[in-house]
Symmetry: C3
Subunit: 156 residues, 3 copies
């Protein structure tokens, strides 16, 4: 059992950075690990954690392995759970307001409910503590869209 | 790329508030965004984040859009994934102890496993950073019950 | 409405502890609540929260009830959603590299996508604020393996 150094005298930092991502299609898994690592490096936070947060209800944040065949498997599973071609009451609503450019996306919201909007990742000695195969993804569940991801860091 | 102000000299705050909600049925999506926003306003935290936490194993915290037809779609998806009428070994257990008023709720626990107990939302300039369509929900997966939600704020 | 004591003069703590767990099979729900509580006690953090984080892409962190029949129900649900015997493109990839000892585990990754890598739990008055039935689990979704769990505490 080993504690990370407890530098109580150090100053606290709260840092927030938002970046935009243009997705290309849905579903799409976009590996944002390097951007989160870069934000962490720039922040100077050595102990604490990062909350990675999607500002959307049809694009999720998840951690998994970046292996292309696997990403296809996960896309197929999401399609099986909430098929894009199934009937959603939300799509009738969206259709009625289709002049705002919204495509029927009931399946995207349903899939998002299962994935979630955020993940928290520990930071120790200035580095994101992710496992060997862990990568942070923005998961586009709708169509090609502009997306905003917030990385919020807290630490010392 | 833009950092939120880094006011290292400011004082840290850790604030916790618990509120009770009487749900009316299961499943039910209860929009608690305004209560979380009110807690955030009262706290005086200007940079940091809020963890919204359900103290239950059959009521979840999730972020999605508050569009009534969509909430029905999501309820139907949850029912398809873990139907309330399917067989659960947990229900035999619950039945044996039914004098504590527990209704068979194996499906509620299974659905909860997929949704989760907490979400973390960034706070910048004193405001919850939620996207245009994002609302925070307590998701009742069991029956009408008294529920406790903890909002834990950390920031400066 | 009641605020937890706001002791702004107290010193901030950031503490991180990693522990290893040897799982015995997959799927398996391993109750790690007592270990998280012990880390919390030792830390001296009285107000803040704990992030419990799995460093793996086929082992998740979730909160639910520790009732053996229920754990079996949840294992069956996961198997229905992403069956271990279904076809996954990832398994062809894994097979090609099978000299690293990896067993086909496409289903494990798919199930992990739905559960997630972390949960955040509030700490008030030195105690984890978990509800009566809430227990923290490491959920093994692959086979018997060595797993690392990080408990990251922030608070005063």
């Amino acid at each position: 059992m080993e504690w990370a150094p407890d530098k109580e005298e150090d100053k606290m930092k709260f840092l927030s950075q938002t970046f935009m991502i243009r997705t290309e299609k849905g579903p799409q898994f976009i590996d944002i690990t390097e951007r989160v690592e870069e934000v962490t490096r720039q922040s100077g936070v050595s102990n604490g954690f990062a909350v990675i947060f999607s500002k959307h209800t049809t694009a999720a944040i998840r951690i998994n392995e970046n292996e292309p065949a696997l990403l296809g498997d996960m896309e197929r599973m999401l399609e099986q759970i909430a098929p894009s071609c199934a009937e959603y009451k939300h799509n009738e609503f969206a259709h009625a307001f289709s002049d705002n450019g919204e495509r029927p996306n009931g399946h995207s919201h349903c899939q998002h409910l299962l994935l979630g909007a955020s993940e928290a990742v520990p930071i120790v000695d200035g580095k994101l503590i992710v496992g060997q195969w862990q990568r942070v993804f923005l998961v586009e569940l709708d169509r090609a869209r502009d997306r905003e991801v917030v990385v919020q860091l807290v630490g010392e």
